[in-house]
Amino acid sequence: MIIRTIAGAVALAISIAAGPGLAAEKKLAVGVADALTGGGAVYGLPQANAVKMAADEINAAGGIKVGADAYKIDVIAYDDKANPTEATNAVRKLIDRDGVKYVLGFCCSGSTSAVASFIAKEKAVMLVGNAAERSITTQKIPNLVRTRPPADYTGQAAGTFIARKGHKRVAVVGALEVGFYSQYVDAVEKELKKAGGEIVAREVFSLRDRDMTPQLTKIRALSPDALLVVGYVEPAAFVYRQSVELGINVPRYGFTSGSEEQFLRVTTSEQMEGVWDLRPTELTLLSASKNGIAYHENYARIFKASPSPSSPYAYDQLYALKAAIEAAGTVDNTEAVAKALRSLPVPPQVVMQYQPVDGKMFDENGQAYTSNGAFQWQKGKWVFVEDLPSDAKAYSLFLGTLK
């Protein structure tokens, strides 16, 4: 009896010491499935880091508040190697074994699509990050939202930009076997054609290719007036390097979202000079808001590396989730939380610059839109030059008409 009383007193003392006020402190496990190793890790690992960083910030600020309770976030991250099978296993493990209700991360389209195909049946909410394949948000999956806009949303804006520069013969080299990259190019082509231009070559490379000189030599022989490179950072960096080595002297546009660090591992700054990256206005210091600058500083301090430009997609997932849970007033009712996500205004802590549709961060497809930007490599840095003309509301309507 005495022992029990003492134990009770100790427990009470601990909870008073640890928790703010008198609210009972609880844990909320949040899962991350992302490419932590392999070719997709350039996108996935920074995303997983970003989620952990957001969790620490939220925990330090008192956690997620539901009624009288404050939930501290526990992040459980599994490596899906950007592989559909691994991703399915990782999410199954998170839901079935770890009892997780919220899964974040998802940098890469193949693995993400695999999980999206069954997530509707689960009592869970899936928040997709950098994966850009359009079909992920055309299926109206009620418990899935995505922070990154689909590739062709950006492609359309990019095509307009390239056409306005007056290019008529654009040669493409890219990871065109990947759906969303070819969707981007299709959207570019549509805009080019409107302006009387055309795509004169569609050359392919795969994630593991490092020698693109054969493709580029072929392109050189066609004398295009611009080069468009769409694909993963690592092969894309080799394309930029080898295009200089082959003396291809035309404006170069790209859709890669790689950081300076990632490119400079492969190329020299001179080889990158003047390259455009036409992509969602992600994280770069010059375009960054106050949140973006703080994010960059904190990330660099904690992980001893610059954050990849796309990593805030995952960071923002957690803040959106926090706001949705607080709005729904429950951590257990995932349906209510999923619903709250779709009627959420853009939370103030997010890093990316979202363009709300009808005042909401995610449209009825579960899709968020950021502005698109034209960035140019100038003397070793990506410089934000201008916003790309993009219309979130119109695209949202178009997306809603797709199956």
């Binding site: 890790a41 076997e177 593991r208 490092r210 020698d211 054969p214 493709q215 030599t217 022989a221 080595e245």
Partner: protein
């Protein structure tokens, strides 16, 4: 069109040079010991990783890191012969085969453990580009091609003109007769593994500087290396040189004129066609 063909040939020469160096190592080892040394690619990549590590970890310039990596290659090759292959020297051939496979997995594991899964690119300052009447030759590729020619020439001179080199050939052609000439058949495999691995390390450095080294690249290269051996004719030095060059250029021309998606398929199709016409390989002797 002509410029395009010439350009694709130049493009293919650099990787062809890498194939030749890998294949020379494989063919020498195969000639002396009859071993399909599958771990060769992974050990070669270890050399590339080591060069990168010496440069980024110890701040050595490339020119200083290369000889250290090559010397490490010699040592490593000798160790592999002594510790892995010598114990199964007189056993059934399947034993050496299994040792080779196990060794490959082990070296790949070591590479992953020490150097991680991220791709690495050996940094160079060679970014000039020479333009010869419309055919561009990047400085780095030029040096890679020249180094490959130099190494192959050095290897040829070594084998043809030095006593040790002749002894290596003699052992490959007739081991018993070589013993009767007074050749020490215990040290020859050590030397062969040392030289072969150094050539492989050179290839690894070239791959790392031209492209990138990442897990799995070495295994891919060793498959290409054996393809070169079969294409050129097993055990033939000139065959390995011709085969490697042909494979590199074929890949490049196939990617440029047919489709980059089928680069490897086309290269192997060429190999199969050559073997249908000449089962002994390009320069192999008829059985």
């Amino acid at each position: 069109m002509l410029i395009e063909i010439l350009q694709q040939t130049i493009n293919g020469l650099a990787i062809g040079g890498v194939y030749v160096l890998i294949a020379l190592g494989l063919t020498t080892v195969f000639g002396i010991l009859g071993i399909a040394h599958f771990a060769h690619g992974s050990i070669s990549m270890f050399g590339g990783y080591l060069t990168y590590f010496l440069m980024t970890g110890y701040g050595l310039p490339l020119i200083a890191a290369i000889p250290i990596a090559l010397a490490a290659g010699v040592l490593l090759g000798a160790l592999v012969e002594m510790l892995a292959y010598r114990p199964v020297r007189h056993a059934n051939h399947i034993n050496a085969f299994i040792v080779a496979l196990g060794l490959t997995m082990m070296v790949e594991g070591i590479n992953l453990q020490f150097f991680g899964h991220e791709q690495i690119v050996i940094p160079t300052t060679l970014s000039r580009v020479f333009d010869i009447k419309g055919v561009t030759v990047p400085e780095l590729r030029l040096y890679v091609i020249l180094s490959a020619i130099l190494l192959v020439a050095a290897m040829m001179i070594f084998v043809e003109k030095t006593k040790t080199g002749q002894a290596i050939r003699a052992v490959a052609e007739n081991r018993d007769a070589a013993i009767l000439m007074g050749v020490n058949v215990t040290t020859i495999p050590l030397i062969v593994f040392g030289i072969s691995t150094a050539l492989g390390v050179a290839a690894g450095i070239m791959v790392g500087a031209l492209f990138a080294i990442a897990p799995g690249i070495g295994e891919g290269l060793v498959v290409k290396g054996f393809a070169v051996l079969i294409l050129g004719g097993l055990g033939s030095f000139p065959g390995a040189i011709l085969g490697g060059t042909v494979l590199g250029i074929t890949e490049s021309i196939a990617a440029g004129f047919i489709s980059s998606a089928y680069k490897d398929v086309i290269a192997f199709a060429v190999m199969i066609i050559v073997l249908l016409v000449r089962p002994q390989g390009l320069l192999g002797r008829a059985p």
